[in-house]
Amino acid sequence: MSERAREPAIVPRRKLRVATASLAGCFGCHMSLLDIDERLVDLLELIELDASPLTDKKRCGPCDLGLIEGGLCNAENVHTLRAMRANCKILVAVGACALNGGLPAQRNHIDVRDCLQTAYLSGPGVERGFIPNDPELPLPLAQVHPLHDVVKIDYFLAGCPPSAEAIWQFLTDLIAGRTPVTTHGLIRYD
C-alpha cells in the first residue's frame, strides 16, 4: 500500500498513542469503533487515547495513529485535519465521508444561497429569519471535500460506517506491526 506499510514490523514496547476526530461526519464511525464491544477493553490495554471525542484532551499531541471520520465542510475541519497530519505518524480516513465526502457532499451540486434560504429564511415556522454570521462560526467551504484533497492519507477504511470487524482487523494488524489487510466482506461501500 504505502511506503510506511512496507517498513519492517516493530512490536510496540509502549502503548500506541491514538487520536480520533469526527469532522463533517455523524459520529457513526466512532460508534462502529465502539461496536467492537467487549474488545474495547482489550484495545484500551494496547493503546492510549490522545485527543478524541471520548476524552477531554482538546488538541492533538504527537501520536502514532490518527483516525478521522467525516469530510471537510468548514475551515475548522481543515485546521483540525492539518493538526492531525502534523502530529500523527499514520493518518487513516475512516468511512464514506472521509473517503469521498459522503452524504454531506450531496450539497455540493446546490448553490449555497439556495441552501441558506431554505434553512434560515423560508423554513416553516421560522420567525424573523436571517443567516447566522457571527465571527465565532467557522467559515463553511463552498463544497464538502474528502480528506485526501488537503493532506496525505496513509490508509482508507471504506463503509458507512466501516463495520466493527473491519476496524478491529485494521487496528489489530497495525498494532501488531502487520500491513493492514481488509479482505472481502470487510470492505463495503454502503
Partner: protein, 491 residues
C-alpha cells in the same frame, strides 16, 4: 432574549475564554465566555459551529430514499431519524394502519436505540464527571478511567450498549445506518431464532439497568445540594405522550407543561406541530431556537428529553421504571424538577423502561408475524414525530406527484434544548466562574452542564448557513484546494 448573559454590552473590551471543542458529546460545539477585568462573567454562549444542509438537498430525492438518507444526520441515533422519516412516509404511501408486526418490529428497533444511546451517554461519556468529580484529573476523566476504577460498571455499560446495538442489527440489518424500516412498514421479519437470541441476555440487562438507576439516585442523594442547584433553570417541558397519557417514545400526541407543571397544551396531533412551535435564528449559532408560539421567544422556550418526558407523562406503563419514577418524583414533592443533572437520573429510568418494553415486545406473538407493509390512498404531506433518546424529533415532508420530495423541515431533539442549554451554562457560569480565574476544572463545569442534556450536535447541524465572500485555501504547492465562503449580505 432570555437572560443577562446572552449578550454583553461591550464585547470587544472583554477577555474571551473558549472551550473548543466541547468534548464527550456527539458533534461539534464550542463555548465562548466573555469576562471583564474583575473576571465577572458578561456573556456565555454555546455555539453550534457546523452546517450540513439536509433540508435543502433532500429536495428532489425520491421519498422512499429518505429514511435511509436522513439517518446519516447522526450515527448515535440513526434509528430515530430512520423511524421518524418512515412514519412521515407512511402518510405518503397511505399506510393509515401500519401492520401490527411492522409496528412491533419498529418499536423494538426504537427501544433498542433508546437503550444503547442512553447507555453510551451515561457509561461511556458522562459518568466520569459524576464518579470522579467535575474538576478531577482530565487525563483520567473518560471511559478509560472508568474502566480502571470501576471495571464492572464500565463493562456493564459496554454490554448494555451491545444489547441495544444487537436489537438494531437484527431489526434494521446493521448496527449503524440500517435499512429495516420503509414507507408503510418494514422490509424484514424477525425470526424465532433471532427473538430467542435477544431474549437470552434479558435478565442481566434488566439487572444492569436497575443498577444504573440506583447508582444515579445514590450520586444524587450524596450530593443533593450540588446536583439540584447546578445550572438549574426553570422552563416549560415538551414531549409526546400516549393517548392515555403514559410515556410512549414511539408515537402519541404532543403535550407541553409550564415550569410549574400546569398543562400548556395537550393532545396536539403531530401533524399540527407547526401551529405550536416556531423558531428564531441567532447570529452566533447554526442551531435554531424553537419556542412555543403562544408564549413567544422570550418566555416560550422549553426542555425536551428524559427529564421532560418522565415528568410530562402521567405514568410509565412498565412496573420497574414506574417505581423508579415515583422515587424520582418523591425527591421534589410533586414540583417540577428542573436540574440539568437530574437528566441523568431520568435517562437511567428510561433505560430501565426500554429494557422492560423490549422484554414485552420479545414476548409478543405479533413480533414474529408475516404482514410487513401496508399502503392506501396516496398522500402529499407527511409529519413523523418520535421521542429520540434526546427528545422530541420532528420530520416534515411534502412529496409531489413524481414521488420527489419538495419540502423538508426537521426540528431535531437537541435543537429544542438550545435555549435551555445556553441558560444552563450561563447559570453555571454565575455559580462557579464569576470572579475566579477560569481553570480547566472550572471550565469542565460548563461542559458537565452541556453533557447533562446529552446533546447530539451533528443532528443539530443539518441546517446550512452563509453566503459567499470567498477565502481560498491552497495546498503546499500553491494549488487551489477549496474556497471558504462568508456571508456578505445576510444582515
Amino acid at each position: 432574549m432570555p437572560t443577562s448573559l446572552d449578550t454583553a454590552a461591550n464585547p470587544e473590551a472583554l477577555r474571551r475564554i473558549v472551550i473548543e471543542p466541547v468534548s464527550r458529546v456527539e458533534g461539534h460545539g464550542k463555548v465562548t465566555i466573555l469576562l471583564d477585568a474583575e473576571r465577572k462573567v458578561q456573556q456565555v454562549r454555546l455555539h453550534i459551529v457546523e452546517f450540513r444542509g439536509f433540508e435543502r438537498f433532500i429536495q428532489g430525492r425520491p421519498f422512499w430514499e429518505v429514511p435511509v438518507m436522513v439517518q446519516r444526520l447522526c450515527g448515535i441515533c440513526p434509528v430515530s431519524h430512520h423511524l421518524a422519516a418512515s412514519k412521515a412516509m407512511d402518510q405518503i404511501v397511505g399506510a393509515t394502519r401500519v401492520p401490527a408486526t411492522a409496528t412491533a418490529i419498529r418499536r423494538l428497533m426504537h427501544y433498542g436505540q433508546i437503550l444503547q444511546s442512553h447507555a453510551l451517554h451515561f457509561f461511556h461519556l458522562a459518568s466520569p464527571d459524576l464518579l470522579f468529580g467535575f474538576d478531577s484529573d482530565p487525563a483520567k476523566r473518560n471511559v478509560v478511567g472508568v474502566l480502571a476504577a470501576h471495571p464492572d460498571l464500565a463493562r456493564h455499560g459496554i454490554l448494555l450498549r451491545k444489547f441495544g446495538q444487537e436489537i438494531i442489527r437484527i431489526t434494521a440489518g446493521k448496527r449503524v445506518h440500517g435499512t429495516g424500516s420503509i414507507p408503510g412498514g418494514v422490509n424484514k421479519r424477525v425470526t424465532p431464532a433471532e427473538r430467542d437470541e435477544l431474549r437470552a441476555p434479558l435478565a442481566d440487562v434488566l439487572a444492569w439497568a436497575e443498577a444504573g438507576v440506583r447508582l444515579v439516585a445514590e450520586l444524587f442523594a450524596a450530593n443533593r445540594a450540588l446536583y439540584e442547584g447546578f445550572g438549574t433553570v426553570r422552563s416549560s417541558l415538551l414531549s409526546l405522550v400516549a393517548a392515555d397519557g403514559t410515556l410512549d417514545l414511539y408515537d402519541g400526541v404532543l403535550r407541553a407543561r409550564d415550569a410549574d407543571g400546569g398543562i400548556l397544551f395537550d393532545g396536539v396531533r403531530c401533524a399540527d406541530y407547526g401551529a405550536r412551535i416556531h423558531e428564531n435564528v441567532r447570529s452566533w449559532s447554526y442551531m435554531k431556537f424553537p419556542f412555543f408560539a403562544e408564549l413567544g421567544p422570550e418566555r416560550g422556550w422549553y426542555k425536551v428529553g428524559p427529564l421532560a418526558r418522565v415528568q410530562n407523562c402521567d405514568a410509565i406503563g412498565t412496573p420497574r421504571a414506574e417505581a423508579a419514577r415515583q422515587d424520582f418524583l418523591a425527591q421534589t414533592l410533586g414540583t417540577i424538577q428542573h436540574a440539568p443533572l437530574a437528566y441523568h437520573w431520568a435517562r437511567m429510568i428510561e433505560l430501565l423502561h426500554a429494557a422492560e418494553v423490549i422484554e414485552r415486545l420479545l414476548a409478543d406473538p405479533a413480533l414474529l408475524g408475516d404482514e410487513l407493509t401496508a399502503t392506501g390512498a396516496r398522500g402529499t404531506t407527511g409529519v413523523g414525530v418520535i421521542e429520540a433518546p434526546r427528545g422530541t424529533l420532528i420530520h416534515h415532508y411534502e412529496v409531489d406527484a413524481d414521488d420527489l420530495v419538495t419540502m423538508c423541515n426537521l426540528i431535531v431533539s437537541t435543537t429544542h434544548n438550545n435555549t435551555a442549554m445556553n441558560e444552563a451554562i450561563r447559570q453555571v457560569a454565575r455559580q462557579h466562574l464569576d470572579g475566579h480565574e477560569p481553570t480547566e476544572g472550572l471550565l469542565n463545569h460548563i461542559e458537565v452542564a452541556i453533557r447533562a442534556f446529552d446533546p447530539c450536535l451533528s443532528c443539530a447541524t443539518h441546517a446550512l448557513g452563509k453566503m459567499p465572500l470567498a477565502v481560498e485555501i491552497v495546498d503546499a504547492a500553491g494549488a487551489l484546494v477549496t474556497r471558504l465562503v462568508r456571508d456578505a449580505e445576510a444582515l
